[in-house]
């Protein structure tokens, strides 16, 4: 029961934040629709702004429902203090997320600048090793074999250009 209450609390808080973001997004879309050219000779019903405006209004209504619901369920009590922020940043899950995303972003940055096989092998080796997927030599073999195999199959056999 306690776990369920904690999960419900987290959901309500998430709903509160998400609904604000979605409301802001729908208002932005509505604004962009309002300033879009109308092409009136086609008729107002054919204006390119009409469908996005319609769906942005629907989104606004739904997001408002979620917002009101989260307030009723006290999701606005976010308790964002120094201790909570510190615990959040230090948690294992957040650290792993930052690590995995960091590796992906470095890979993306170097893609096209370094040969695909070398870059992919390096990425695979580092990720498998840092996340303790295998020993260093197994990681190395898997990384090189996978990168080379993918390159051969796609670029040589299927003539699909790789980045």
């Amino acid at each position: 029961m306690n776990d369920k209450n904690i999960n419900d609390n987290k959901t309500n808080k998430a709903d509160f934040i998400d609904s604000i973001v979605i409301i802001a997004l729908s208002l932005f879309v509505i604004y962009r629709c309002a300033v879009m050219p109308r092409y009136e000779r086609w008729g107002l019903y054919a204006t390119p702004a009409m469908p996005p405006l319609l769906f942005a209004l629907m989104l606004l209504v739904l997001a408002t429902i979620v917002f009101v619901r989260s307030i009723i369920r006290k999701g606005y009590k976010l308790h964002i203090g120094r201790n909570e922020l510190s615990q959040f940043v230090k948690s294992g899950e957040v650290r792993r997320f930052v690590l995995v995303l960091g590796l992906i972003l470095v890979y993306l940055f170097l893609l096209g600048k370094i040969h695909f096989v070398i870059l992919s092998a390096a990425y695979l080796f580092l990720t498998i090793l840092l996340f303790k997927g295998a020993t260093w030599w197994v990681s190395g073999i898997v990384a090189v074999a996978t990168a080379v195999a993918i390159w051969v199959v796609f670029e040589i056999v299927f003539l699909v250009l790789l980045p």
């Binding site: 469908p51 899950e93 992906i104 993306l108 990720t127 303790k132």
Partner: protein
Amino acid sequence: MGIIYLFQNIGRLFSPINLITVLLACQLGILFGMLPGLTATMGIALLTTITFKWSTGNAIMTLLAIYVGAIYGGSRSAILLNIPGTPAAAATCLDGYPLAQSGRGAEAIGLATTSSFFGSFIGLLALSLFTPVLGNLALDFKSFEMFWLAVFGVAICGNLTAPKDPIKGWISGILGILLAFCGMEAIQGHPRFTFGVLDLYSGFSLIPVMVGTYGLAEILLNLTAGQKKQVITEIGKVMPQLSRLIKHWFTIIRSGIIGIFIGLVPGVGESIAAYVSYDFSKRASKHPDEYGKGSVEGLIAAETANNACTGGALIPVLSLAIPGSAPAAVLLAALWLHNVRPGPLIMIENPNYIYEFSAMFFYASVAMLILGLLIVKPLLKILQLKNALLMPIIFIFCIVGTYAINGRLFDIKVMIIFGVIGFIMRKHGYPVAPLVLALILGPMVDENLRRGLILTNGDFLPFVRSPICIVLVVAIFFTLFGRTKPVKIALRFVFKPVTLLISVVKRKKKI
């Protein structure tokens, strides 16, 4: 007579070379379908170039085998990894992955394979016997009907994938529709929501968004969760029991018919067929609570429909030269390249071709069944690999698959952005399936709504006039509001005389 011609062509095409070709092509298709980002469309497109100089019969047989194999192959990664290899397998994740997690992966793959075969077989019967008749039905879908069908697809997907909180499913769907509006729109050519980014003029491609929200999000979820890998201690029987399949015979036939009719409608595709069939199956089921938690019935419904849809999608290809899905579009191009002229005159110019084509489809379906049941146990070993070893490899395949579509680094950036968005959505209880499905259906919604209104000079009445439109509007209404109290009370009141009559008849029978 049609059945006789079909069997004659099956016999005529029976040769060792054809069998080997079909088996190899089908296996390649399964691999394409399994790997995230490598879709049936890409497989057919790649092999079209390789088979260009082959004889027409061999080439088309190869391409059909890839099509059938790839649509089925998506279910494997959906079941084993919760990452659908193709959009068609998105509904398979709902029950296939929970089955695999509970140690019933072999059973799930066996059921998916046999259901896919039955679906293909039902599609084959429709293709060979009813092509001219069903082809005309596709013509009844005009702008008004297409608009409502697209809205229905999004609404139903939102409901199914967020049963406890459908509002989140609908929010996800509408976000997908808004994403689909990015880029140069089709009627006035005005660029919407591009913010000066040239790459956005063509809008968001489906594959980077799908690979990101499903593939990369799953990778992020698994790697951030740490080494929590469920080890399957027992690999069970792959071949499903006949009694189990017979028990669900009605689900198979209903899903097959749904798949065929949705495949008939141009541009709709296998993913919607799977979701609609899943929804019908859930509503009719005696155990709807099991859906989403490893329901065998749900898995059978989704897989039968998406493979029946391949047959259905080929009906307008042959009879009208209009593709019923994206892979069918590439297949149509391949037919033209090989001097086959599909269209309304095919029954006059080349009437035997429909049966020859159906015979090829038959061989492709049988190859899918054999290969699908054979190589299962080694695949299940994938589930026993550590996340830290498996997920980075899948990431590289995601990169390759995403880049291969358009050759743009922009697509990879989109994939990564949507990977993070998908990760956050799943953490916060928002399903990603409606977002991806709405990205497919968004252009249908936009173009058909505005085209319909242009044709009627702004009059909305034709949108609710035709029988197909009325059925779809009613279906949307019940999908969105069917579970609310006022609607339930109203339905009970309307159907009270009928339920009273049924209870009286039952009492009389007991007496």
